[in-house]
């Protein structure tokens, strides 16, 4: 084995899956969605900023050109409404008091 290959092997270990990653955070889920996405606005959106930027990966493009959104594992960070440049596509609030993300060692 060449020395470069050995260095690469030593430095690489499997990254955890996204599900495992999100599973490390605690979400107290309220039955009411605090963020809703207007599918009609998204259908005409070609830039799709939310898809790559949402740290919780909650915006999923569908085969018919829409966006599937689930509010449950949300960090409440605000990235989506800041990067989305379509007026009215995202309505964004905080969850009801006591619900949503709960950090522990952050």
């Amino acid at each position: 084995m060449s020395s470069t290959a050995r260095i690469e092997r030593d430095n690489a270990w499997p990254e955890i899956s996204f599900e495992e990653r999100i599973g490390t955070a605690e979400f107290r889920i309220h039955e009411k969605a605090h963020i809703t996405v207007n599918g009609d606005s998204c259908r005409g959106c070609t830039t799709r900023e939310c898809v790559v930027a949402c740290p919780a990966n909650l915006f999923v493009p569908t085969s018919d050109g829409g966006i599937l959104f689930n509010y449950e594992n949300c960090f409440e960070c605000g990235t989506c409404y800041l990067v989305c440049n379509k007026e009215g596509a995202i309505s964004w609030t905080y969850p009801e008091g006591g619900y949503g993300i709960v950090f522990h060692r952050t």
Binding site: I16, R21, F75, G78
Partner: protein, 439 residues
Amino acid sequence: MMTSPTQHDADIIVVGAGPAGSCAAIAAARAGKSVILIERGPFPGSKNMYGGVVYPRILDELVPSWWETMPVQRWVVKRSTMLLSDSGALNIDFRANSWGAPPYNGATAYRPDFDNWLANHAVEAGARLVCSTTVTGLLRDSNGRIQGVSTDRPDGDLHAPIVIACDGVNSFLAKQSGLYPHTDASNFTLGVKETLALPKHVIDERFGVRDNLGVDIEILGGTSGVNGGGFIYTNLDTIALGVVLKLPKLAAQQKRPEQIIAELKRHPAIAPLIEGAEVKEYSAHVIPEAGLDMMPTMVADGMLVAGDAAAMCLAAGIWLEGVNFAMASGMYAGQAAAEAIAKNDVSSRGLSGYTDRLEKSFVLRDHRKLRKVPHLVLSDRVQHKYPAFVAGVVERVFRVDNPHPKPGVRRIVREERKKAGIGLLDLLRDGWTGMRGFG
């Protein structure tokens, strides 16, 4: 403007029990005013994440001997700035053993611990802390004067002549009051981080520290071409590793935040530090980055805005300080609000003691001094060209290429500058901005 205390639930309502809100509540309660401190999380700190270092000297005034009770992970005695190119790294280290003894300098701490501790001081000072309650809007009388806040609790309206908005970077209150229409994505960065578990002795060995002493590493480069930076902080038995990413740049490319973290973790200068560590917690939060250029009006009739809600976080490359700016601005807001109640004038004029204090203190002075630095640090040249340029120069200065004789440094700099595609004028201009900005 007169106040009518009889109909009020308190003199002052503070929204958000982060560092700004708790310090506002402590200061106002100490001045003898009745204070309600409202937090939407189940406990103070439960919604809050950051990189990892608090600089608490500003607490000398509010919590004497704070270091005796503060929930500290490690006292920072070593600060490093790391410049990463694709394959190399330049590390500038500074170690100060004096930072490991009172009155200290900075400490790593978990925000759920720290914020909870600070909010307890507000309670001890006499403030009423109400958790699990989201403030949904401002209450106004028929003349438009602020009268308090509405919340998501049944019959949850709370009345007070002064509201202090310490509700963080997405501040709905500042937006609703028209003070802060800040939704321009280019003023913000996204921070994502992993809390990585390793045995304490392994962290001690890898980072060259002992006991409860720790390290703070700021990283330039290594963010997969997205403008931003990285950080590594040592806690007792975890490492906080993360990146901050300029929002429009992140949104305009294909790599997701966790993939950018994964690439940073694989960099040959980083990988050995964290090898074998397990992800204990993944987290994300947005940072207001633009400093003075995005700050809102901070005083209105019956209302003050402090901390991240007023974009007071100082994010200038090797500095990522927000907690101390939040604590200071919160304290000044609490003091000014108490003063306004005492003189029975809650108009913006009556509350102007707040801006006076900000102007006289480090809060606005540091921001003014470093006004240009955030833009410089996040500029395309500094982000995409300088790390490789600097690493290239240093690599060639240290390279022993016998039998060739050593080339002159001036020649190396010229060649590497051209290789990196940096014009001489741009380099001089950035150097000048940097020197003026940091100096």
